[in-house]
Symmetry: C2
Subunit: 326 residues, 2 copies
Amino acid sequence: MSLDDPDDLGARLLAGERRAAARLLTWAEREDPRAEAVLRAHAARLGRAFVLGVTGPPGSGKSTLTNELVKRLRAQGRRVGVVAVDPTSPFTGGALLGDRVRMNDLATDPGVFIRSVGTRGHLGGLSRGTSLAVRALDLFGCDVVCVETVGVGQSEVDVIRVCDTTLMVLVPGLGDDIQAIKAGVMEVGDVFVVNQADRDGAQRTAREVNAMLDLSHAERRPPVLLASALLGEGLEGLWGAIEEHRAFMGDPRDPASRAAARRRAGARHELVGLAQRRLAERLAALRLNERGEAPLDALAAQVARGALDPFSAVEALLAELGLGSA
Amino acid sequence: MSLDDPDDLGARLLAGERRAAARLLTWAEREDPRAEAVLRAHAARLGRAFVLGVTGPPGSGKSTLTNELVKRLRAQGRRVGVVAVDPTSPFTGGALLGDRVRMNDLATDPGVFIRSVGTRGHLGGLSRGTSLAVRALDLFGCDVVCVETVGVGQSEVDVIRVCDTTLMVLVPGLGDDIQAIKAGVMEVGDVFVVNQADRDGAQRTAREVNAMLDLSHAERRPPVLLASALLGEGLEGLWGAIEEHRAFMGDPRDPASRAAARRRAGARHELVGLAQRRLAERLAALRLNERGEAPLDALAAQVARGALDPFSAVEALLAELGLGSA
């Protein structure tokens, strides 16, 4: 039995072997086709984990909060996975914060599996790496997988599509820009928490968030809680609110449940993203034209110098792939 | 002559008619095919404007800084466009901050054209709306187009690809998460400025940014400046640094220049994004199967319930479009 073989690795993963999980996550991160092979082989075992998104603006203390929630889950004997989506340079592709930096006190707990995922590439890169890692931890038997993202805006939206429940972490005293961001991602949060609630202005921020949520037309009004991850305050109530949302969404195995509908929407989004990624690969691999130029580069050069508009260029590009005008 | 007709509108736009520009921007924002028609017709006139990206974390005062830079450009008699990329809900599609809210003191200047662009849709939405608006203002004869983005991470990367020079705005006293973000987007900035430099810790933040830039292997080390947009300090030096970078990049009309190479890379990225968007439209429009289901929905449902892995599903989806395995 070898960890280099997807079949063997799959068997050892299902048997709960930690090294097998580590290897699968590494494959997932490197986009090794063997990661896909393992997930293909065990598709029927996927979807058992509860996937919790933890998101919010930079500096809101998401890592510390996630850390505290994971500790509580561990105290209940649950196996927990954490996928930390690091902001990385799309140019270098490297993760900035290693796993070592995060959540040191959990690093030696065999019931916790923490992995950082880079945001390699641009379009769909984040959601693909994240969903591969989430699936790997799901297959490994994690009861709960926390997906923590740094950043505001696009990231939140990509994250919610793989999460069953999304926790939006805010902090007291947010500026003008944050006002806009809060509103922009309002629909992304299922549960809101004002972290660092011992700081001035926590109540005010909670009131402001509540006022904004009053304007929303969502089926369920998200609760707004106060907590301090550092002081360990408000965490029981926070987990209770998360569990309440989970109950509201229902059992994802029931196709009529809200949870199942959300997972279907997530899968739809993921499939489109994967298809777009495959398209980009095909475009980059198109055979050279008679002048030895890659069609994509040749058309881009024409657009850049104003010899062609981008809309005509993309039609020419799709025609090269056999995807002419519909 | 009617503003509803792309041909007439194009002529009136090139003649400098402000209403024509407003109409074109509205078409661009609504993704009206007439916006594409105008840009197609006048592709050869595109690419004259200098496109300046202004980006950085929330709360860094980007709008105020942009405002001050625009005032200085106006004092030199240059026609200026501003595209403000607002964080909007991908679910509602609405822009949060109207044009009225921003830069009130410039709103009545006929030499300035300000437009907010929503980040409608998900993949590629931001960069497409932005680049359409930039092209419209370019065609209108703006000498400089400033593209201001709120947000950190993905947005910066999309923005740089349509910008000739990117200004990274930071503020004193950044938290842990921001440390990571700064490094992650380090390669995106051509010029760095610590805004609100009258606040404590400005020098320290500048030193930290400099220390990080020392680790970079870029061809040119970006300068780090101090400024206070509110107090009007450091703005001459800042504009000087922007002009220096512009000179370093060379004339975009010279194919051998760095500026031209950057624009080609931007066009390449844009074409891939446009092609991916067309693909998503085709996938959503696939004809129903024998059970009356959309193929994308049917496959997503199978993936969501674990009956199929996403990789096999996407192959089936691409085969539906006639894009079988390469």
